[in-house]
């Protein structure tokens, strides 16, 4: 079954790659998300930004993907930010203890 529940859009500007993640990020679409992000992790000369403004739902699998991006970028000493996190998702990040590791912009 093909699913359109996750929407991914990438925008590239000078020194910046913004990935807009919308819809539902869960176990079903985890591999789709990983495959989309994988090639961007190596772009160490660019600041990688994940925008979550249109994200309606995330589970521990989705949070796990953010953790692996965070670690991959950290290991490469490459900049990574998360921006526009909806309130109820921010609450999960806080609970999970991931917030202090993410540079979250409004």
């Amino acid at each position: 079954m093909q699913s359109n529940k996750l929407s991914l859009r990438t925008e590239k500007r000078d020194g910046l790659i913004i990935v807009y993640v919308g819809g539902e990020l869960d176990l079903e679409v985890a591999s789709q998300m990983r495959a989309a992000l994988e090639p961007l992790l190596e772009r160490v000369d660019q600041r990688l930004v994940i925008n979550l403004h249109d994200l309606a739902y995330i589970d521990s699998t989705g949070i796990g993907i953010l953790i692996s991006i965070l670690k991959a970028r950290h290991a490469r000493q490459a900049p990574f930010d998360v921006e526009q996190v909806p309130v109820h998702i921010r609450k999960l990040f806080d609970m999970a203890g991931i917030t202090p590791f993410l540079a979250i912009a409004e």
């Binding site: 869960d26 176990l27 589970d59 670690k71 609970m95």
Partner: protein, 145 residues
């Protein structure tokens, strides 16, 4: 509200987990839980179903039974599989990322942690598979108190 039980069975595959979220949403709305409580329960229930999808049948075919127990006091959700018993080792532990450095953090155990943090009660049983029961108490309104 009269005590009621709503039961369903889904194939143990990731693409069916959101169906359980939709059912949860419908039932919890009927019970007048708040938006925030419903969002919390959606995540907790999905984590329980995810565990069954990932661990119970080793990637093979299987089924997951979900039973929503509706009463005046609380909503319970039982998620049950008939596969390999999954032994949780993170019950009662603190947030898995707390006090760690970026190199140390990992997402293992996060689902289990969230289930406990988001619900009032989580019970784990091994009985021909794994059965997880999640419960959320209803806030009593003035009229019914």
């Amino acid at each position: 509200m009269k005590e009621s039980l709503v039961k369903t069975t889904i194939p143990a595959r990731a693409e069916f987990v959101d169906l359980i979220r939709l059912m949860l949403y419908g039932i919890a709305s009927k019970m007048k839980f708040s938006f925030e409580e419903i969002e919390d329960m959606k995540v907790a229930v999905s984590e329980a179903v995810n565990n069954a999808v990932v661990h119970a049948y080793g990637g093979g075919d299987g089924e997951i039974d979900v039973a929503f127990g509706i009463s005046d006091d609380e909503l319970t959700i039982q998620v049950r599989d008939h596969g390999v018993a999954f032994e949780p080792d993170g019950l009662g532990k603190p947030a898995p990322l707390e006090g760690k450095s970026i190199d140390e953090i990992q997402s293992g155990g996060l689902g289990l942690f969230l289930m406990q943090a988001l619900m009032d009660r989580v019970e784990w049983k091994q009985e021909g598979g794994t059965s997880v029961t999640l419960a959320k108490k209803r806030a009593r309104s003035e009229e019914t108190a």
